[in-house]
């Protein structure tokens, strides 16, 4: 039994999502080979080789993989993956994009977003926005899985796997990268943050999100948002926490001016400690919060920043 795990990386470094997916793969058992597919990605491959529990790193270094276009990744991973028992990727927007193509090309099902491993063929995954947990069993010869990274801790980095180059170049030639607008921030990414402070519709506008920044800086926190705040145009889409946005499980989640719609709760209810600040005492967010404060956020936020 050998697992092919597809690394999430930006060509220069592997993301924490990869370390978490390795821990999920370790729970399945068997050797773990990590594929780093990118362009000029040897630095990321060297990092992947240090992840504890990894036996081998495959590097597919070619401009066809620079932006990990789904069409090219689908061909590469289904080609490399046919001799493996499992193909695993973190359920990031990159993994979600190409993994179903891999499964379809191999004529097997995909099991999305696993949150627990029972055995080599049986897994838990949330359905209905996390309001139910399905335990499923796959009879496919190759199991294609994406991992909800918020449900697993990070693997260590004391490994020393061999690094092997993959020569295969798959360029489907039907898609191309045009541009990317990536949010630049000194703060941790939502998926990797120990503390997250999120704002909702109650923030009223994008300008007011500045009130969260000072607190975030003091706590080393990432800043998130509810769907309502993103839909209203207060902040960009990559800040959205929820069923269809980022799923997070930090040590501390502070929800500010967020009522607690089902789809938002689906994205943060596994946080260790939840704080809710809302002026509406009936807001559903209070039903799952460990600590609730009924107050006007515009009074509370400056006070909180000063108190930290």
């Amino acid at each position: 039994m050998t697992i092919l795990l597809i690394a999430e990386h930006d060509n220069s470094a592997v993301k924490a999502d990869t370390l978490k997916a390795v821990n999920a793969a370790t729970a399945i058992g068997g050797d773990i080979h990590v594929l780093v597919a990118g362009a000029n990605c040897s630095a990321a491959a060297d990092e992947a080789a240090k992840i504890s529990g990894v036996a081998k790193v495959l590097v597919a270094d070619n401009e066809a993989y620079e932006h990990q276009l789904a069409e090219n990744m689908g061909l590469l991973v289904s080609d490399l993956g046919k001799d493996y028992s499992h193909i695993v990727s973190p359920a990031t927007t990159t993994g979600k994009n190409f993994m179903p193509r891999v499964a379809a090309l191999l004529d097997v099902a995909q099991i999305s977003d696993i949150i627990a491993v029972h055995s080599e063929d049986s897994f838990d995954r949330p359905i209905y926005a996390g309001n139910a947990i399905a335990t499923v069993k796959s009879s496919d010869a190759i199991k294609v899985l994406t991992v909800r990274v918020a449900a697993f801790s990070e693997a260590g980095t004391d490994g020393s796997a061999e690094v092997v180059a993959v020569d295969a170049v798959h360029d489907a030639g039907i898609s191309s990268f045009v541009s990317a607008e990536l949010t630049k921030s000194e703060r941790p990414e939502l998926g990797a943050a120990r503390v997250i402070i999120s704002g909702g519709r109650g923030m009223q506008n994008g300008e007011n999100f500045k009130l969260l920044e000072g607190i975030a800086d003091k706590l080393g926190a990432a800043i998130g948002a509810s769907r309502a705040a993103v839909d209203a145009g207060f902040v960009p889409n990559d800040m959205q926490v929820g069923q269809t946005g980022k799923i997070v499980a930090p040590e501390l989640y502070i929800a500010v001016g967020i009522s607690g719609a089902i789809q938002h709760l689906a994205g943060m209810k596994d946080s260790k400690v939840i704080v809710a600040i809302n002026k509406d005492p009936e807001a559903p967010i209070f039903q799952i919060a460990d600590y609730g404060l009924v107050a006007d956020l515009f009074d509370v936020l400056p006070e909180l920043e000063a108190a930290l």
């Binding site: 979600k96 999305s112 139910a132 399905a134 489907a172 898609s175 460990d290």
Partner: protein, 249 residues
Amino acid sequence: MKVLVTVKRVIDYNVKVRVKADNTGVDLANTKMSINPFCEIAVEEAVRLKEKGVATEVVVVSIGAKACQEQIRTALALGADRGIQIDTELNLDSLQVAKLLAKVVEEEQPGLVIMGKQAIDSDNNQTGQMLGALTNMPQGTFASELVIENGKAKVTREIDGGLQTVELSMPAIVTTDLRLNEPRYAKLPNIMKAKRKPLVVKAAADFGINLTSSVEVLKVAEPAKRDGGEMVDSVEALVAKLKDEAKVI
């Protein structure tokens, strides 16, 4: 250009989900069902393409039991031209759905397929990508903007770090994210008109595809309950709790 749009009948997004006591699934008896919100956005986008003169025909397809004709009619009321129901009582996996849709693509030869990025019941986020692989079409998933020009589809995608734009040869598949558009409400005259639009029913069993899933659901359970905690009355009290009791700051 013909646009093919897929719609799925799912539990309405406002309804609270209840797990059955025998842990075999979710209780859907007498539950309000609706068009999957992401599919509704897909229909809207297709209709807008037609209104702009980019699309000439919008064909809507749904796979499921007869009840899903209701969702097809909703799509027709929003402006789609004709419907196809692929009839089955089975609860299909994404792969089987993608294989059936690949047959529809083969027959209809659309220039563009627009689908929801995921259904809010199974939360799989797979079918569009699988259809892409099976038909060798490129994909623009999680789209927040779609522009068709010079025979190419330019798709802006919502990704983890922000936005990414890709250019796809056509025919292509686009899966919708929330910010692509805001679907319109169907007007009463259009709802009446939709009743007369053509809707063809085909049996899933006639497509020559193995409809047996390789994934068995062993159990469906309630997630671990999270109890509400305590209310604090001041910022000072909150900070003290976080420091001394929860020890998270």
